[in-house]
């Protein structure tokens, strides 16, 4: 379960405490997404989107770790 897709926030309009609506871009298509669960996310950030809500902000530094880790283990071998 849990199809959540990474997309880039390109626009945010604050609406209410229950809805912080943003436009998120997924490879060239744009969808309206509710950003209420990621108050720390801003325009230019990437978020994971599931059923119309952003559920997590993607940390770009951490995203590198899977590659850095591979380099480490390859060097050790």
């Amino acid at each position: 379960m849990c199809l959540a897709v990474p997309g880039k926030i390109i626009d945010i309009r604050e609406e209410s405490p229950l809805a912080r609506m943003g436009q998120v871009q997924f490879g060239g298509i744009i969808k309206d997404v509710n950003l209420v669960f990621v108050p720390e996310a801003n325009v230019g950030d990437y978020v994971l989107v599931h059923v119309g809500f952003a559920i997590s902000r993607i940390d770009e530094n951490e995203a590198e770790r899977v590659f850095a880790y591979l380099k480490e283990i390859d060097e050790v071998s």
Binding site: M1, C2, L3, A4, V5, P6, K8, L18, A19, F26, G27, N34, V36, F37, V38, P39, Y46, L48, H50, V51, G52, F53, I55, S56, I58, D59, E60, E62, A63, R65, V66, F67, Y69, L70, I73, D74, S77
Partner: protein, 361 residues
């Protein structure tokens, strides 16, 4: 697409596969819990890349598959009533109930609609004040915040013709149920990454302590799964057992605070029946007393209904990782995606459907 393509890059994937081969002595059985991970493994042929010492078992990570039979029947009952608009995620439409499925109800002329988000169902309720709009709120913890928000906004905006039929299940109790079974052969877990974006991963610590199995929070792309397997195997080879986070770009230890707060307000933890497995205590969510008026089972008077499972379908054993789909006598003959006997063949995440689609050869 950023954060997808680089995790599907062939060269890096091969290097992780080699790294696993270098450290494994095995054999090890690792279960990936989430249906989305099953889908990725089969779609990308990831099991082809793993050494033979590693067996991947596919877990009950498909809320579609584990929604109890009586809930499907209740959904069908509600959808069949006049003046109801029944909204659902696409996944649920072909899951067989005791006699029929939602797709057939739609064919009979009832207003059954597929939506992408529970908020779409709420919007339909707002535009159709004279009809009852019911949303089939299925999912793991990942979907709970969205479903909670739909109900919360319904109350705030006084959209009274909206209600939800709740079938939420929680992952950690399911993992415990699998581990506590005497027939269990799973030695390590890849925990469902998107569930953990919401819930964090503290709740796996007591499980690891009690059962001494590694649990690695894992993402959904080929690189994520391979790194998840690598970390799990590394623990197993080192005879360690700990909770590790592979999906660091999306998951934090405490999860998503605002989402968890809303879930705690709108839902409460209850026992829940898992189709093919049985009742697991503290494994489901129901609406809290504050929001009980939005419970469709109450609104439509269906709380007392129960149903019996067919004996042909062994999806329960498949869901617990005790059998592989192709070990079922009905697999591919009496039971195919066109006429499924059980939910694991209906849902595109179900192990049986995934095997049928991608692997038969």
């Amino acid at each position: 697409m950023k954060f997808l393509d680089e995790y599907r890059e062939s060269g890096t994937v091969q290097r992780y596969a080699s790294a696993i081969r270098r450290i494994v002595t095995g054999p090890w059985t690792i279960m990936e819990v989430c249906g989305g991970q099953t889908h990725a493994i089969v779609r990308f042929g990831i099991d082809e890349l793993l050494p033979a010492e590693i067996t991947l078992a596919h877990g009950p990570g498909c809320p579609v598959c584990v929604t109890p039979l009586e809930l499907i029947d209740k959904a069908i009952e509600i959808a069949s009533r006049p003046n109801v608009i029944f909204c659902s995620f696409g996944d649920m439409l072909r899951v067989p109930g005791s006699h029929t499925d939602l797709f057939s109800v739609k064919a009979d002329g009832r207003d059954v609609r597929i939506v992408y988000s529970p908020m779409d169902a709420l919007a339909i309720a707002a535009s159709n004040p004279k009809q009852q709009v019911v949303f089939f709120a299925v999912g793991f913890e990942t979907t709970a915040p969205a479903n909670a928000m739909a109900v919360y906004q319904a109350r705030e905006k006084q959209i009274e013709n909206f209600s939800i039929l709740v079938s939420h299940v929680l992952v950690p109790p399911a993992i415990e149920a699998i581990l506590s079974s005497p027939a269990n052969r799973v030695q390590g877990f890849l925990a469902a990454g998107h569930v953990c974006t919401i819930m964090g991963y503290d709740e796996y610590e007591p499980i690891v302590q009690r059962y001494r199995v590694p649990i690695v929070v894992t993402g959904f792309e080929p690189l994520d799964i391979l790194q998840g397997v690598y970390l799990c195997v590394r623990q197993l080879e080192g005879r360690r057992a700990a909770v590790e986070n592979q999906y660091v770009r999306a998951v934090r230890r405490k999860g998503n605070e605002p989402a968890r707060q809303l879930i705690e307000r709108v839902f409460r933890v209850t026992p829940r029946k898992w189709r093919g497995i049985g009742e697991i205590p503290h494994s489901g969510l129901s609406l809290s007393p504050e929001f009980a008026e939005f419970d469709a089972e109450r609104r439509f008077g269906l709380t007392a209904y129960t149903a019996e499972e067919s004996s042909d379908c062994m999806s329960g054993l498949v869901l617990q990782g005790l059998k592989k789909p192709q070990e079922c006598p009905a697999f591919g003959t009496r039971c195919t995606p066109e006429h499924p006997l059980g939910a694991t063949m209906v849902s595109s995440e179900g192990a049986c459907a995934a095997y049928y689609r991608y692997r038969r050869s």
